[in-house]
Symmetry: C2
Subunit: 239 residues, 2 copies
């Protein structure tokens, strides 16, 4: 393609061109707070190296290639940004407002990934890729603050249905760790005894014979999640 | 645009072109079964008047115009197909498989609408727009059978969270009518006494002082739904 981007005839042409398509990915993981050490939600962002919004932070993403499925493009975002392979990766929403980008009409199909702490600890960081606390992002490029806000809202909603918390933990976890995930996502403290009672009543949470090693008190029991995740058609193996 | 579609150079060019974007809409309404008269799920389809899949039935939709939001395009689909304005219209999913269309790569962002029976009764039909029972569609164009199947699956899932049924009914309804919606969507009979007990325990279902007129028995009480619908960001008035 020969695109000369500097004259106004081309700007007008781009305005009338069909909307172009991009894939972006919101990648959540629990990491310790810098201050309290408690688990909090973090996500990696990429510094933009060209206009528009040059030097601002943005969600990882880019144009959809002609030979790449939506899910594959999102997996590639995840891999290129963090070096990780997706465990939980699901379509979030398509954002298609008229004024999302100052230079052309772009529709972004957004995926979200949940990454376990052991994986997140291995994730690459660099000059142009950095992890940020979800509640302290500053101003991002495009409408990406609104996209992250929507992803957080969906995450809080999904928590109510159970399985989602376990994608932020490893295979085995204590009930206190589950509570910490809920506290990080909901951003409020929960009563430990009530929470414990509720979680133990969830049929998908299974007691194991294992205990967490290394504390000074009676070691807490480890549990495991046995349900199935996700509502996207990709997780139902239809289209 | 000067598109000459008949030579193979152009076919190869289209294959390497960026994916194009379409909006399609699944529109569900309850209508009486032709045989039993019981409420069943129906949706309007449009006969294709050009290749590919000429003369086959397809979901209403088309390319996204450069000056139209995703939601506006879906509203237009609904209006052009049925003459109706949307009451409940929400983004369903973006379908972006590599081989959805034989001639070019198309990503379809699919919306779904729920239409009340009084509205559905007013909907236009014509030679090229016809309503079909959701469980008796035959073979549709593109991957539209899979899209409808996914929409049905999501509808069944959403039923579990309550509000969705009421978008298929009018403002006032009897508990038996609610049960009929559930039976139509879930495609199985439910125990009336159990169902009644469950629904009466739902805080968002409010008794009114009105009764259904015109039966020969004691007239059943009318209820009203007081909750809020929808999970899309459009329903949260963010992006």
């Amino acid at each position: 393609m020969n695109a000369v981007n500097t004259n106004s005839a081309n700007v007008a042409e781009r305005r009338l061109a069909p909307p172009s398509l991009a894939i972006s990915t919101v990648i959540f993981a629990l990491r310790p707070s810098e201050t309290s050490g408690r688990p909090t939600l973090w996500l990696p962002l990429v510094r933009r190296i060209r206009e528009p919004y040059k030097d601002m932070w943005a969600l990882p993403g880019g144009p959809l290639a002609h030979d790449e499925s939506l899910q594959d493009a999102a997996s590639r975002n995840l891999r290129e940004t963090t070096g990780l392979a997706p465990q939980y990766l699901e379509q979030l929403y398509a954002f298609g407002g008229l004024h999302r980008s100052p230079t052309q009409r772009v529709v972004s199909i957004v995926y979200w990934a949940l990454v376990q702490p052991t994986e997140a600890a291995l994730a690459d960081e660099s000059e142009n890729v950095r992890w940020f606390r979800a509640d302290r992002l500053g101003e991002l490029a495009f409408d990406h603050n609104a996209i992250v806000e929507y992803a957080l809202w969906r995450l809080r909603n999904k928590m109510a249905y159970g399985s989602i918390a376990y994608h932020l933990l490893g295979e085995f976890f204590t009930l206190a760790q589950v509570r910490e995930v809920y506290e990080a996502v909901l951003d409020r403290q929960l009563d430990p005894a009530n929470f414990r009672r509720q979680i133990k009543a969830t049929p998908e949470i299974e007691e194991t014979g294992e205990y967490l090693q290394g504390g000074k008190h009676r070691p807490p029991r480890l549990y495991r999640f046995t349900g199935t995740p996700g509502l996207g058609p990709d997780n139902r193996s239809t289209p």
